[in-house]
């Protein structure tokens, strides 16, 4: 839980839902600032590509 709102601030979350995909090296690679269908092809391809990285 983000009781003081500071985690949301650090991630610059200003609307809900907000989501981020972070790669194996801890870098932010994708974001979504609205609700999306998470098991669609575009998302699966993006995650597959990130999983293939070292």
């Amino acid at each position: 839980m983000d009781r003081d709102g500071l985690t949301s601030l650090a991630w610059q979350v200003f609307s809900f839902p907000s989501s981020f995909i972070i790669d194996r090296q801890g870098r932010i690679r994708y974001s979504a600032n609205r609700a999306i269908n998470w098991d669609n092809q575009e998302v699966v391809q993006a995650i597959d590509a990130l999983l293939a990285e070292q």
């Binding site: 839980m1 983000d2 009781r3 985690t7 194996r24 690679r29 994708y30 995650i47």
Partner: protein, 187 residues
């Protein structure tokens, strides 16, 4: 302008910057920090806290007081025209690619059962981080597809973390959330 800002809200930490920009641009502006509540406290659904209830009850009287405050300021006769090229155009993608490759801020969270999560412990994995709130219908709408995604990547290096933006520990709601989130880590 008056900004009516919950004191515990996510935008609270941006208020100083907004206010100084407004004042520097010559716009009379005030901020009212609503004590003890978070963003969307008026949307507390069936589990308002006592602070939420009191804040909602105070709201109508405060709005008329703040409106009176604004009456003392001259108002522009007409709105300024918008610059023609201010609306960006482009294809809408499901995901927005971040080409800067910024290092993600460290996450340090505790769930309702006191379990801690630090994203450093997930280094080497792909992380899907989802900020949501139970009062946000689109957030709830996308949960089943998050569960399906989780199932699709079972036993792979994808870790899905959902961060609930809320004020207080609510066990009943937490149990409900745990059920709808299935095996997704919930903080």
């Amino acid at each position: 302008m008056v900004i009516y800002q919950p004191a515990m809200g996510s935008q609270r930490w941006r208020v100083n910057r907004v206010m100084s920009s407004l004042w520097q641009a010559g716009s009379p502006a005030y901020v009212y920090l609503v004590p003890d509540v978070k963003d969307w406290f008026i949307m507390g659904e069936d589990d308002y806290t006592e602070e939420d209830k009191q804040a909602v009850n105070r709201l109508p009287a405060q709005i008329s007081l703040l409106a009176k405050l604004l009456e003392h300021h001259p108002k522009p006769v007409s709105a300024m025209p918008l610059p023609k090229d201010s609306v960006p155009a482009g294809t809408i993608h499901t995901l927005v690619r971040d080409n800067e490759g910024k290092q993600a801020p460290e996450l340090n969270l505790t769930d309702c059962q006191g379990r801690r999560l630090n994203t450093r412990s997930l280094h080497g994995k792909v992380i899907l981080l989802n900020f949501w709130a139970s009062w946000c219908p689109p957030c709830v709408e996308e949960i089943p597809s998050l569960n399906r995604l989780k199932a699709h990547y079972e036993d792979r290096d994808l870790h899905i973390v959902s961060v609930d933006y809320r004020t207080v520990k609510r066990n009943r709601r937490y149990r409900h959330s745990s059920r709808i989130f299935q095996s997704i880590s919930l903080y």
